[in-house]
Symmetry: C2
């Protein structure tokens, strides 16, 4: 019996779900030209099936009962686009148990329960596609799983959250404040349902956890990733960073260091000349360093209904190709063979090493620079640059020091000693500076 279409069920008819349905309709010809058969949407499940999404849909395919999808033996692939941990996880596992492949954009779920989900997929010999979980249409999951397979990945440096990056890009223009900008991002449909995850770095961390697994063959315990958001950044530091030739970005880092992995999400200064630093607005940018390809960079819209739909459908086509030939997807779900995986040893925050940007607000009296430099010297932290701009004598102002590499625990101790001096007015600002690539 030869198939006439690849039959798809969709769980979650929100913004991205609507983008997928629209794309399946509007780009059906080009998709079929590639796949060889139509992708046929046979069921859509959502608690709300009455609102108008601006698309003509046969009402018969709409349902509020998810069981209608599991029990339909004709469905080959289930798309999970409801987001969140539960009941999304249960629905994905039930899809496998019902003999269906799965495509999902659910980065939180994969970052936290990925190992379990992948194991169940394997048990039922089903595939799970998750290109849309990181960077939307940017094919970074595919790049790590299939393209860079001859490379030892040395590091990944990613701007992975469009909302946070949009806020940082707009903030530096100085025309609107944090909340106004966030509202604009929400209005444009880029922010997560819960924008706290965008701002506090969690969404970025979900994504780097997934990428680190694919790049290094490591099982990442999500709870152990040091995460810092952009909530506490001050405008002055953007301007000063710029003067020193750097940009502040909410950066996800995953770096192999001997047998450990330096995996973290923080606002970090990167050199303004790096191509990654040109990732502005809602765009995502990812720099990879491989021991064969050297520095490589991917850039595109990391969110939004249509770019995400593109990634979801690319996975439908992947799976569809193999269904047509009655064979299985040959690439391991996580790129590496299962027996290769080890638990990741994540470098604890105090042990992470980098350069630093230190700003102290101090009264311009004799002894202040001597104090700063003595404390750093005592802690064996080398200074790479100092910036102090002229101001009236005896008035407080900012002194910025860029350091060479040291452990976070060491600089933190040094900062505590610096603060002990009365002349330091506010709590010093301490940010990381990351050099990478060629």
């Amino acid at each position: 019996m030869s198939k006439k279409s690849i039959r798809v069920g969709l769980i979650g008819f929100g913004i991205v779900g609507t983008g997928v349905v629209k794309t399946l309709i509007e780009n059906s010809e080009i998709i079929e030209a590639r796949l060889g058969l139509p992708l046929e949407l046979v069921k859509i499940c959502d608690l709300n099936i009455t609102s108008d999404r601006g698309i003509k849909i046969d009402p018969k395919i709409l349902t509020t009962k998810v069981e209608d999808i599991f029990s339909d033996a004709s469905i080959d692939i289930v798309i999970e686009l409801m987001g969140g941990l539960e009941p999304a996880k249960t629905f994905i596992l039930k899809s496998f148990a019902s003999g269906k492949h799965v495509v999902t954009a659910n980065k939180a779920l994969l970052a936290i329960h990925g190992a379990e989900i992948f194991a169940v997929a394997k048990k039922y010999n089903k595939f799970i596609g998750f290109e849309a979980a990181v960077g939307a249409g940017i094919p970074i999951v595919r790049a790590l799983k299939e393209a860079l397979v001859a490379d030892r990945i040395l590091g990944i440096y990613g701007i992975l959250n469009g909302t946070a990056n949009f806020i940082l890009t707009e903030l530096i223009k100085g025309t609107a404040d944090f909340n106004t900008i966030l509202k604009e991002a929400q209005r444009q449909g880029y922010a997560e349902a819960n924008p706290a995850l965008d701002i506090n770095g969690s969404d970025t961390a979900h994504k780097i956890a997934i990428l680190a697994t694919l790049a290094f063959g490591l099982e990442v315990d999500f709870k152990k990733i040091p995460i810092e958001g952009i909530e506490n950044l001050e405008l002055e530091d953007f301007t000063l960073a710029e003067k020193l030739g750097y940009r502040i970005k909410l950066l996800a880092i995953a770096k192999k260091i001997n047998n450990e992995i330096d995996l973290r999400v923080q606002p970090i200064l990167i050199q303004a000349t790096k191509i990654l630093a040109k990732t502005d607005g809602v765009f995502n940018g990812i720099t990879l360093i491989g021991n064969r390809v050297g520095e490589m960079f991917f850039y595109g819209k990391g969110a939004g209904a249509l770019p995400t739909a593109s990634a979801v459908i690319s996975n439908l086509v992947d799976i569809g190709h193999d269904i047509i030939l009655n064979q299985q997807n040959a690439v391991p779900i996580r790129g590496f063979q299962d027996n290769f995986f080890k638990p990741a040893k994540i470098v604890p925050l105090l042990q992470t090493e980098s350069r630093y940007y230190l700003r102290v607000n101090a009264v311009n009296k004799p002894g202040i620079l001597a104090h700063l430099t003595q404390v750093l010297s005592k802690n064996k932290i080398n200074i790479s640059e100092i910036l102090q701009e002229r101001r009236p004598e005896n008035q407080a102002g900012s002194i910025i020091i860029l350091t060479y590499r040291s452990k976070f625990g060491v600089i933190q101790k040094a900062v505590a000693e610096i603060v002990s001096k009365d002349l330091i007015i506010n709590k010093p600002i301490l940010l990381r500076v990351e050099d990478f690539g060629e």
Copy 2:
């Protein structure tokens, strides 16, 4: 009988071939962790098997007779890295006929004889991987074949030749001349064996021909691609372009325009703020516009032994995965189903439309600007910007005009009329200006 390794034969033990062999040795552990079996190099064929490539190799696997590869029934995949049209084509076709899959980096061959080669591969039910043919390790072939399958591709804008881009990047620094810079590129191993192909745009054209086929499902007649190299560029135009906010790059363009395709290689001004314009030195950069993903950008080392080896081996792993499961590669070799392909209608050069950069060297006498603007106006070409820098009266100097869009045939006619005036000293410089993306 379960296989113990995927067995590979290599034809061409030059710079890239050596990079492949080195990578197979040095990164064997990581490659096997992904593939599940070792990639075993069982035969290397080259006319020169005596020179020292700095790698320890069992001399028994070296041969000067290519038949030793075809006749070895144990070889699963042949890597063709000799380059050039013949005998490379014959060797690839013989590999298929001997029941072997093929991996090649041979862009010239695929651009010119791709259709024939792909047809023979299909006839023997064999796969041909050619990720290394464009952008070396940048997974652009994979992106078009597998990732952007839900997108109508609207345009591709590529800096695809590292040598030409290295020359342009160095030229603008003004520290060395064209030939000195070219020699440096050759010394660093970036230039093609015949560097004329780098400089005159042919190598770039080979690559865009391949990408256009994958992006649009079109069979491209290579001879019909308008190609212009960087040989005739003058330093003054780099400086002036920069002043106007543009960079001159050797750009490959493939744009869908109704049922035709605007496909060409030319030195072109692009806005300096575009991320593509940041592609400097030997790096390659490719901007894609899809009707779902919007603007997307890929960047990396587009040449060199190790980045190219990475791409070659990624294809070995692709094929190896399916060999292990005793199944076939499910993705069509050119991304689209064969019956979708049509011959490309390439827009003839005179009909291509763009904005222009026009520099005339004229004596600064009354009437000169009136003459220029009248001629343009008569030909219905709108001016967007003019730059004329102060100079002593009655001395010759440059006037630069940026225009809005018009057909090349029209601006060419206008330029001929402009030259008719005695006051124009040299042949005017006419370059294209390309706006794209968001």
